[in-house]
């Protein structure tokens, strides 16, 4: 360690015997000999009980040993005795980092550096924290210092380049790498780390647009066998040559790649791109040329599917028919289950859709003896999916029934039938059909999981858990808690939605928040890579990681959970009675009660756990704070929080930062902001939404609402905010607007769209129309020219409940007769019968259970 830069204060100085002990203590900590370390610390403290650094070290040791609270108290005590010691601040920083409090930890590290400017450990840790917090200008500085102190360490050079890169100074990054390469000597042969660094350098040059420099760097080092990743060399070469417009060599490079991996779509796309091929803008000649090229590839060995499939995209008319026919029939006779999914993208073109339909209709019109019956079966399956895609549900069901009576043992037929039933609003029948599929192969994880998911869709939460439980850890308190630990976004989302639909808002919120927590963990997980990846020179993939992390929260599961979670808080704010668990859980079924009991038991188990672990205090527990025990196992406390809207705003904040193009996001941000009386935030959110689609039904209601609200606001917000809000609002919907007329015109313009009809009804309620008038506007959804979907129907039904319309039941029963196949609009008294049906089977058999082999 370098000499301290400040004179040692008297109270820190120890006599030589204790000073030796203290040095020993540091080594013991480094080597994690916790017990010995503790003894040594006690020896020093016996004589000097107010020695701050020793107190801090003892606290740190105790924290490692799992005696967390005691340890942290000691660290704080030690800090008070010696506020100018870098050791004290370092220890404090370590503790804060363990609590994932990166901001505060960085502050402590900065303090520590004030008293020991050149401490390598502290500098390195600071760099990691700065990267985690994306404070890149400070990161550059830290990396500079590290390089200056240890220029002989290879990773310090690369780390500085990476810091410049992250800070957007690509040119500086390039210079650092160049200088580094010029002074580097004696690189061993086949050195992976050096190879990775050179590839990173090439990528950097490509990013700044210096393609020919990148290419020559790549070529020189590939030839010198310094870059050893052969595939990476070939791919980058092909890409760079393409970017440089070197058609001849690029063509050669892509062809070589296709030879090597003829199933990689990107290679063909790359090859075609040098021909100036772009499906949207391409000329007729270019299109024909492309098909010709792809046909040539298709006929050459190795026989790959990709060029055949790509040719279907570019070909047209008779040629398309000629190409798609063998493609289809080879798939049907081989029995490729995913054939439809593979081809449905072509349906964007109506002609192609028709050709495919005709061909498969032909094949499935009869079973010819010359062909195996399975070909006929797979064409029936294909056609069912085809008609499902075209929303011709009865036709799809008919075909599936024919297929099932032909061969009743193919699980795909039942999963497809389940999907058709689900889309037609028969969630119970769908769950049953998937159970049928599952019974055909009890050890199939996909079928089991899908069945559990369909049960959740039918609101059968407990019955779903039984199936999820087949695959979760047997010693987990509940299947749900294991799935949460395993970060199963599918489970958390579907279970949350299921509770949400059934009105069990607290549990729904609990699941949505768990999704949020999972993403917090994703974010924390990157921390270790800031050090690891640079040490191992895996820079290229590390840069991908960093940018992935920045976008991680735009993942659909996170977006959905944040929005739905926030919407629950909005609903509870509007109707505080929902906070009451009795009211929110609706009729508590037996299953619900059972789940509650189980959750309680689980919570108890978790509380018992710490006792067990506290007894063996010898091993290293690390510095990470243990997960706090769950004192809100069913989410009721969170739901009842008086700061619901603030929590909602926090849930949405990461999405606001990412400026996601989602109308549902921005109207939710509006809903939360307007209830918090943050009017500027509200109109800004609405502006975002309106930019995406000014005529969107969700936007329409809110425009009317905010304009009305603004006009009757007793006191507009103070000057800068008030006037800016006014201006934006004026832009969105002028103050001169007659809102009734505005709403009527909106309805007139889009009167055949169900969501517009519903939206206009909502808007007129905002404008003070009496309930019966609003209700009858909602009933206009049944007008024959309105295209009413199940989704909007569900929404309309719950809206009628919200406004306490006396016609709720009438509406429900009209929906029930309108959607013949559906069961979701049946009266709740029939629920139990449907539940039994859904978990049973249409086969004549007892319920099977998966038995692990």
């Amino acid at each position: 360690m370098p000499p301290p830069s400040l004179p040692i204060p008297a109270k820190r100085a120890l006599p030589s015997k204790e000073a030796t002990l203290f040095r020993e203590l540091l080594t013991l900590y480094e080597t994690r000999q916790l017990k010995k370390g503790l003894k040594t610390a006690d020896l020093i403290l016996k004589k000097y009980p107010e020695h701050g650094e020793t107190l801090c070290m003892k606290g740190l040791l105790l924290t490692h040993m799992g005696r967390r609270e005691e340890g942290i108290d000691l660290v704080k005590k030690g800090m008070r005795f010696d506020l100018t010691s870098h050791i004290c601040w370092h220890v404090f920083g370590l503790i804060q980092k363990g609590e994932k409090n990166y901001e505060e930890a960085l502050k402590s590290y900065t303090q520590a550096l004030r008293f020991d400017k050149e401490n390598l450990n502290i500098l390195r840790d600071s760099a990691h924290l700065q990267t985690q917090l994306r404070i890149f200008d400070a990161l550059v500085e830290t990396r500079h210092t590290l390089l200056r102190l240890r220029p002989n360490l290879r990773q310090n050079w690369v780390a500085l380049a990476v810091a410049y890169h992250l800070n957007g100074e690509l040119d500086e990054a390039r210079k650092v790498l160049e200088q580094y390469e010029s002074i580097l000597k004696d690189v061993p042969d086949y050195d992976v780390e050096h190879s990775e660094m050179l590839l990173y350098h090439v990528a950097l040059l490509e990013e700044v647009g210096q393609f020919s420099e990148a290419l020559s760097l790549l070529d020189t080092n590939a030839k010198a066998r310094l870059i050893i990743d052969r595939t990476a060399v070939m791919e980058r070469r092909a890409r760079l040559l393409t970017k440089l417009g070197n058609v001849e060599e690029a063509e050669h490079a892509w062809k070589a790649l296709i030879q090597q991996n003829s199933d990689c779509r990107d290679y063909y796309k790359g090859y075609l791109s040098i021909k100036g091929v772009d499906l949207d803008t391409m000329s007729e000649e270019a299109r024909q040329e492309t098909v010709r090229i792809l046909r040539t590839f298709s006929e050459q060995p190795p026989k790959a599917t990709v060029p055949r499939r790509l040719a279907l995209e570019y070909s047209k008319g008779d040629e398309f028919k000629e190409l798609v026919e063998p493609y289809l029939f080879s798939g049907l006779s081989k029995g490729i289950p995913s054939l439809f999914v593979d081809l449905k993208d072509l349906y964007k073109d109506q002609d192609k859709q028709r050709v495919i339909e005709e061909l498969v209709e032909d094949a499935s019109s009869s079973s010819t003896p010359s062909e195996p019956p399975t070909t006929y079966l797979w064409s029936l399956y294909f056609l069912s999916q085809h008609y499902l895609h075209l929303r011709q549900y009865s036709r799809a069901l008919n075909l599936l029934d024919i297929a099932i009576s032909h061969t009743p043992t193919l699980p795909e037929l039942y999963t497809c039938k389940a999907r058709v039933l689900k889309r037609s609003g028969d969630t119970y029948g769908a769950a049953q059909s998937l159970n049928d599929a599952r019974l055909l192969d009890l050890q199939d994880r996909f079928l089991n999981t899908k069945c559990a998911k369909y049960r959740l869709r039918a609101g059968l939460s407990d019955e779903a858990q039984e199936i999820f439980g087949l695959f979760t850890k047997k010693d987990a308190p509940t299947p749900a808690s294991d799935l949460e630990d395993m970060q199963s976004l599918m489970f958390l989302t579907e279970d949350g939605d299921s509770h949400n639909r059934s009105g069990r808002l607290a549990m729904a919120l609990k699941r949505y928040v768990a999704v949020q927590k999972t993403f917090n963990e994703f974010e924390d997980d990157q921390y270790d890579f800031h050090g690891y990846s640079l040490r191992k020179f895996t820079i290229n993939i590390y840069m991908n990681l960093v940018s992935w992390e920045d976008q991680a929260r735009s993942h659909p599961a996170h977006v959905h959970a944040a929005i739905e979670g926030a919407r629950i808080f909005v609903r509870v704010h509007d109707n505080p009675a929902l906070r009451n668990p009795q009211a929110s859980s609706g009729q508590l079924t037996d299953a619900g009660k059972k789940a509650k009991k189980r959750a309680k038991k689980a919570a108890q188990k978790i509380q018992e756990d710490p006792k067990k672990t506290a007894t063996s205090a010898n091993e290293d527990k690390g510095l990470e704070a243990p997960a706090p025990k769950d004192d809100d196992p069913d989410g009721t406390k969170l739901l009842a929080s008086s700061e619901g809207l603030e929590i909602a705003a926090k849930l949405l904040q990461p999405l606001v930062n990412l400026e996601l193009p989602s109308i549902r996001l921005w109207v939710t941000v509006y809903d939360v902001a307007v209830r918090r009386k943050k009017y500027l935030q509200a109109v800004k959110a609405l502006l975002h939404a309106s930019t995406l689609d000014p005529a969107d039904p969700e936007v329409h209601v809110r425009l009317v609402e905010i304009r009305k609200l603004w006009s009757i606001l007793p006191q507009p917000p103070a000057a800068p905010i008030g006037s800016t809000t006014s201006e934006i609002l004026e832009e969105l919907i002028p103050s001169s607007t007659n809102l009734e007329t505005y709403n009527a015109e909106y309805l007139q313009r889009g009167g055949t769209s169900a969501s517009i009809v519903l939206s206009a009804a909502k808007a007129s309620q905002v404008l003070g129309a009496p309930e019966d008038e609003v209700s009858s506007m909602v009933f206009n959804l049944f007008n024959p020219d309105v295209n009413l979907s199940i989704k909007i129907s569900v929404e309309a039904l719950s809206y009628l409940k919200v406004i306490h319309s006396p016609r709720v039941d009438e509406f429900r029963s009209r929906l029930d007769s309108k959607f013949e196949l559906s069961t979701i609009f049946k009266p709740s008294s029939e629920f139990e019968a449907y539940r039994k049906q859904a978990i049973g089977s249409s086969f004549d058999m007892d319920g099977g259970e998966y038995v692990p082999q």
């Binding site: 006779s333 079973s367 010359s370 019956p373 399975t374 079966l377 032909h406 061969t407 043992t409």
Partner: protein
């Protein structure tokens, strides 16, 4: 549709697999479609026994389960063992394609190869109205041994042929 017929020429794959508790659902489903009899839970337990593994299997046609055969071992006097064929069936659309014969061949091979126990004969019941069924077994060397009066309780006609095939132990002769 030239390509379709050419695809049809590729021979279909007929394969077999042992039963497990996880594939029992397929057996149940097939039995419910193939046979007019409802089988007891005892039957479904027996066919999973390791001793009859070779004699109770699912039949696949191009990887899709289309049939099964299930048997039970029976001890007879003088320490001899018989194999009783309880079910053997193929879904209607897959018949007349030689699948049954492949199944029978596989089953008879298993019987002759079985060492412990050595199997002395295999026998089964065929409803007397099912002449095609009888002809099938006779093609594979089965002989009519007797007629079992009122064998079936719930279906008509109730009488059944007892068909059997006797194996002579080469080590004895």
């Amino acid at each position: 549709m030239s390509s379709a017929t050419s695809a049809g020429k590729t021979p279909a794959r007929v394969t077999f697999s042992y039963l497990t508790s996880n594939s029992l659902g397929v057996v149940r489903k097939l039995n419910s479609v193939l046979f007019p009899v409802k089988y007891s839970e005892k039957y479904y337990k027996e066919i999973l026994a390791p001793e009859v593994e070779e004699f109770c299997q699912l039949v696949y046609y191009n990887d899709i389960p289309v049939g099964n055969f299930t048997c039970r071992l029976e001890s007879e006097p003088k320490g001899r063992t018989s194999l009783y064929l309880m079910t053997m069936g193929i879904l209607a659309p897959y018949r007349s394609r030689g699948v049954g014969s492949q199944v029978m061949k596989a089953l008879l091979d298993s019987v002759t190869q079985s060492q412990s126990p050595k199997i002395g004969r295999i026998y089964l019941h065929v409803q007397v109205s099912n002449t095609a069924g009888k002809a099938f077994y006779e093609r594979h060397g089965f002989k009519e041994a007797s007629v079992h009066k009122d064998y079936y309780k719930k279906i008509e006609p109730g009488d059944a042929w007892v068909l059997e095939k006797v194996f002579t132990d080469p080590s004895v002769s």
